[in-house]
């Protein structure tokens, strides 16, 4: 992206996302009863800034919509309209649409007008600013031209006589060339008031702007200038009679005086042949033209800033006049001209711009970060290989190579963490998108729902956030559609009409925990069970615990809604949600209390790139078990083991019993063993509190491994999360212990097909 405008455009859309976020925040505050003017201002500013930028890029649809929205917000800001909850709901809707329009503009898509029209009409009806439609037409965005090199239309600065030179009387103004016929141009009387100077305006520059229009004849009237002792530096004493010869219409001349309109007495009349008098017969104070032109740069009217050279010159200009000679106005001398010119190059000749950037942030293409993440992954593998080689070489642990390697390991880890932090971002953006889902889905099923969010600043890997959007959307829709009752039922149950959906995010023991809960009726387990039997998912005799029944919701092909509403029933079930969470290395569990509501908990790894794992050997294979799943490791004794059947053992751990799983047998590497005494087991803890003991042959190592997804090339394998490359170059599978345990111990247990052997 070498085109600066393309870059600004791209950055504009990024800024829009930020503005949309503060817009949402502001609206949420307003919804919660915040009437603080700054809150409303934030909302207004967000819309205003989007409109401003959109105008610059000629994004008409966006400008038009933002303008109407802004007008409405301005009514609120001015206190002419106090929004009720309906109005705020509409504002949310506008904010959503504004976001759509921003993205449509970004992706060069056109959103049909009939999408925005109803909302705009509603807005006009509510806030009452229909009459604004006409004004909107006046807002014609000017597309910013890239062609800054082309100075067409700009005053030709280089063509002007260098002002630092000595007076150039004859070249500056063509006074001596009387025009044969009626000249085109204007006669201007210009008498600034004191306020003109106070506003930072400068007559000199106005005269220069006039000179850019054509030949200019300047006569300065200095009659009002008093003697020094009575001169008020803040007052304006000079006035000018100007004649400009130009083909331009009067509007262009007026434009020059646009900023000083009302700050001066101004009279512009077209020149007639008779009035054109190059000799200034009407001038009482005839002065050298060039000198006058320059002298006005800092006339005696110059207010404060006495220390500047300009003012020195101005003072000198007055000084030659003895103060006692009251009636003699100051006259101009060549020296003054020279002096005043010194101030002209006021700007230092710096050619490059050195912008003072407010905050030190860098915007980086995500692809670049991803590449860095991948490279760091390779670095981790490389470091592991190196460690292994060093260990195999039999170097003592205190050798310089070993200690150096130790530092290298630490550094690798630090680099990896830092790189992951670059990609981490608050989950807030995702939560805000869910706000819209709640609003839209609740409206379509006629329920009143409020979304509460907690922990929205929890940082999550950006790629995880992106891939969470779909499953979360579905879960939110489910919560609104199935989880929450209708307002009537809620009232009957003694609840508030307005249902509530809460999303929380938090870091917990190296993972991210996201919970979505509603305060609805909870899972109707009898109904779920009935349905599952109907669908042949379970048999009638099966004894299922509550949580077993709840887990049925995740079974493929399950849907409890007897009528398919327009919200759910889109072909996506909770089983799809579960598998998308699993593909992120996450797990999803459900808990429900009848009459109180349902909570879905999603536990995710912090990153998709690396994990801390325990390297174990089972049946001649090397496997990696994620460290955060392991509660403890122990060696079994005879006393720990209890047999419940020929193939079923449990392990007694501190008074409790935990099912024993032979990893080798579960994965089909070999048949179950007769005795497990003396074997090493890994105690696995699950989100739902269930535990299991995994029997392995040996623990080899504990290390960080780089996750290499299998699904892209192989498909999903039950019990296996991914693969990795070990230090010796060998490929090892990474276990998904929870999946493995639930596969093995589940009531709907099926023997897995043997896992393909890696290598």
């Amino acid at each position: 992206m070498s085109d600066p405008m393309a870059e600004i455009r791209a950055s504009f859309f990024i800024e829009c996302e930020e503005l949309l976020e503060s817009l949402q925040d502001g609206l949420i505050s307003m919804e919660n009863g915040d009437t603080d003017s700054e809150t409303i201002n934030v909302v207004f500013r967000a819309v205003h800034s989007i409109k401003g930028g959109a105008g610059a890029f000629g994004l008409d649809d966006l400008v038009k919509f933002a303008h109407r929205f802004e007008t409405a917000m301005d009514e609120v800001r001015a206190g002419r309209f106090t929004p009720d909850s309906d109005a705020i709901r509409l504002f949310f809707c506008c904010a959503d649409l504004l976001g759509d329009l921003v993205r449509a503009a970004r992706d060069d898509i056109t959103i049909p007008h009939n999408t925005t029209a109803p909302v705009l009409n509603e807005l006009d009806r509510l806030v009452g600013c229909e009459d604004d439609v006409e004004e909107e037409l006046d807002f014609t965005p000017a597309i910013l031209s890239l062609d800054m090199g082309d100075t067409q239309g700009l005053p030709d600065i280089t063509g002007l006589p260098p002002l630092s030179d000595a007076p150039i009387l004859e070249t500056d103004v063509s006074v001596t060339a009387p025009l044969p016929s009626a000249p085109k141009g204007f006669s201007i009387h210009f008498k600034p008031e004191t306020s003109l100077y106070a506003s930072g305006n400068e007559p000199l520059y106005l005269l220069r702007a006039l000179r850019d229009l054509g030949d200019l004849v300047v006569t300065c009237n200095t009659q009002r200038v008093p003697t020094l002792n009575t001169l008020d530096p803040d007052d304006g004493y000079l006035s000018w009679h100007l004649k400009v010869l130009t083909e331009e219409p009067i509007e262009v001349v007026r434009e020059v005086f646009e900023f000083v309109d009302g700050l001066c007495a101004l009279d512009i009349t077209p020149l007639s042949a008779s009035s054109y008098d190059p000799i200034f017969s009407d001038s009482t104070d005839q002065v050298d033209l060039q000198t006058t032109l320059i002298d006005v740069s800092e006339p005696p009217v110059a207010p404060p800033q006495i220390e500047a050279p300009v003012e020195n010159a101005a003072q000198e200009a007055v000084q030659p006049e003895p103060p006692q000679k009251d009636d003699i106005p100051p006259t101009e001398t060549p020296e003054i001209t020279q002096d005043t010119q010194k101030k002209q190059p006021s700007a230092p000749a710096k050619t490059t711009s050195t912008p003072t950037q407010p905050r030190a942030t860098v915007r980086v293409d995500l692809e670049r970060v991803d590449r860095l993440v991948n490279l760091v992954g390779e670095l981790v593998i490389n470091q592991a290989m190196l460690s292994q080689s060093v260990a195999e070489a039999g170097l003592p642990p205190n050798s310089p190579v070993s200690t150096g390697l130790e530092e290298f390991l630490q550094l690798t880890r630090d680099i990896q963490e830092s790189v992951m932090m670059i990609r981490a971002q608050p989950i807030k953006s995702l939560f805000q998108r869910m706000g819209r889902i709640v609003r839209e889905s609740s409206a379509s099923v006629g329920k009143q729902v409020r979304l509460h969010t907690l922990g929205e600043n929890t940082e999550v890997d950006k790629t995880v956030i992106e891939r969470l959007a779909d499953p979360l959307t579905h879960m939110i829709r489910n919560a609104v559609d199935h989880g929450l009752e209708s307002p009537e039922k809620r009232e009957a149950a003694g609840k508030t009409c307005e249902g509530s959906v809460t999303m929380t995010a938090q870091h917990r023991s190296g993972r991210i925990l996201i919970e979505i809960s509603d305060d609805g009726a909870g899972i109707n387990r009898a109904r779920v069970r009935e349905k599952a039997i109907e669908k042949n998912l379970i048999t009638e005799e099966m004894q299922l615990s509550d949580s077993d029944i709840d887990s049925l919701l995740f079974m493929p092909g399950f849907s409890t809604a007897s009528e398919i509403s327009n919200l759910s029933g889109r072909g996506v079930g909770m089983d799809v949600v579960k598998s998308s969470i699993q593909s992120l290395g996450g797990r999803i569990t459900i808990s429900s209390v009848e009459g109180k509501g349902t909570t879905f908990s999603i536990s995710l790894p912090l990153t998709l790139a690396v994990l801390d794992g325990m390297v174990v050997r089972v049946g001649g294979e090397t496997l990696v078990v994620p460290l955060n799943a392991i509660l403890e490791t122990l060696t079994l004794t005879d006393d720990d083991l209890k047999a419940l059947g020929p193939e079923t053992h449990v392990v007694q751990i501190r008074g409790g019993f935990v099912p024993l799983l032979d990893l080798g047998a579960e994965l089909g590497y070999r048949s179950p063993q007769d005795s497990y005494v003396g074997r090493t087991v890994l105690l696995i803890g699950q989100e739902d509190g269930n535990r299991a003991a995994l029997a392995v042959d040996a623990i080899e190592d504990q290390r960080q491994v780089v996750i290499k997804g299998l699904e892209g090339s192989y498909g999903r394998v039950p019990g296996i999360a991914a693969a990795t490359i070990l230090g010796d170059g060998q490929i090892a599978l990474i276990l998904d212990p929870t999946d493995l345990v639930s596969q093995a111990t589940g009531k709907t247990k099926k023997r897995n097909a043997p896992v393909p052997i890696a290598g």
């Binding site: 807002f139 000017a142 600065i157 305006n201 700007a347 912008p355």
Partner: protein, 121 residues
């Protein structure tokens, strides 16, 4: 003639655009993202002209102009107001706060440069 310009706007896009337009015209550009920041930046520079947005967090354009005008050393610096509306009410309010002129957004870079030269040479 190269000018030194301070541009104050809370919109990053607008700052980027101002920076592009001003730098392309050979001007030295300083940027600030609101009135408070603008005053901070102003401490270290001597701009020939200031461009400011009106709607900004912390300190808006009016507050900023008042603050600039109340300092004697800055009282003569021309200030152009960036505005999306050219309503007379806004103009007189801006002028009362010390504005020298105004630029209507979205601005045409050539006109921006012309306006700057009009007020600052």
């Amino acid at each position: 003639m190269s000018l030194e310009v301070l541009a104050v706007d809370d919109s990053r896009t607008m700052r980027d655009m101002l920076n592009l337009a001003l730098s392309s015209a050979g001007f030295t550009t300083h940027l600030a993202d609101d009135g408070v920041h603008g005053l901070e930046v102003l401490e270290g520079i001597e701009p020939d002209v200031i461009i400011t947005d009106i709607n900004m967090p912390r300190m808006d354009g009016f507050g900023f102009m008042n603050a600039v005008r109340s300092e004697e050393r800055w009282s003569r610096i021309p200030i152009l107001v960036l505005t999306t509306e050219s309503a007379d009410e806004l103009k007189s309010k801006a002028r009362a706060a010390g504005a020298t002129g105004w630029i209507v957004k979205p601005f045409d870079p050539a006109k921006l440069v012309k306006a700057l030269q009009m007020v600052a040479g």
